[in-house]
Symmetry: C2
DNA sequence: TATTGTTATACTCTATAACTATA
DNA sequence: TATAGTTATAGAGTATAACAATA
């Protein structure tokens, strides 16, 4: 019984959508750039790109990690030249973490690689199927942000 | 500039879809049942549910983990009564790992909880938006399996 | 002799507790 | 005295290497 069969009801839609999204996400995740970076390190770079420079403590909270762990994560990123520590002139207790240009480049390369994989698959779809996805993207975004 | 703006081109569609899918997947993942199970342990249970009973080595390969690690993972699952080890009558070197009923129940509870979260969000969408998703699910499934 | 799984040991990642510097 | 971050130390989780059992 294909999952599409269940989408007549709302409960069925939830199940079918969940399975499809998780499966596709897994495929996309496996396409990540392997520079022997931890998943948390990669995620931290992404957070810095999204939220901009942040105090180390706030970055730890955003990644749901304890401050000592974030100290190590940032040290690792700094050694690879992917992020930098800066002093806050107003409050010298704060350590501001900022994405370095190399970090931006790495994230961009990572994104390009995943998009290339997805683009390749999109070309195998029919124009109608692509149109359906175009309509669905804003709805999926809304769902994720609710 | 909203991501939807980019969906006019195919390359833009790939980016927008990737971001939306990954974000929604993250939300769904965070809704997982916390029984103090490792992500790998939970993933291993899911693999057993999908593929059925498997030799320990094949299970390790499916989870991309080394055999000694899988030995530990399975031991943990067995202690919690979520999986069982069985002997293969044909080749007594093999250890077949099978999902126990408790493991099935745990996975079902996990699925129910995530679906509940998603159902709640689906109710906040308009009928038109839900219709769009119903159309998109089979296309997303096709993408993931390509 | 080759293969499957386990045990022994080491390394990585993250956490809690104690410490330093600044407010 | 309180707060931000770091250092010290310990506990999970996984890997490689050595071993035992079976083919």
């Amino acid at each position: 019984m294909p999952a599409a069969t269940f989408t007549h009801t709302q409960a069925g839609l939830a199940s079918a959508l969940r399975i499809a999204v998780m499966r596709l996400a897994r495929r996309l995740r496996n396409e990540r750039e392997d520079v022997s970076l931890t998943l948390t390190q990669l995620s931290t770079l992404g957070t810095l790109a999204r939220l901009g420079p942040l105090p180390l403590g706030e970055l730890a909270a955003a990644e749901r990690v304890q401050p000592p762990s974030m100290t190590r994560i940032v040290s690792g990123l700094e050694e690879r030249g992917l992020a930098v520590r800066e002093a806050d002139p107003k409050d010298r207790r704060l350590v501001i973490v900022r994405l370095a240009d190399e970090g931006k480049a790495l994230l961009a390369a990572d994104r390009r690689r995943r998009d290339a994989w997805l683009n390749h698959r999109l070309r195998e779809l029919s124009p109608v199927e692509r149109a359906v996805l175009r309509q669905a993207v804003p709805v999926l975004e809304k769902l994720a942000s609710l």
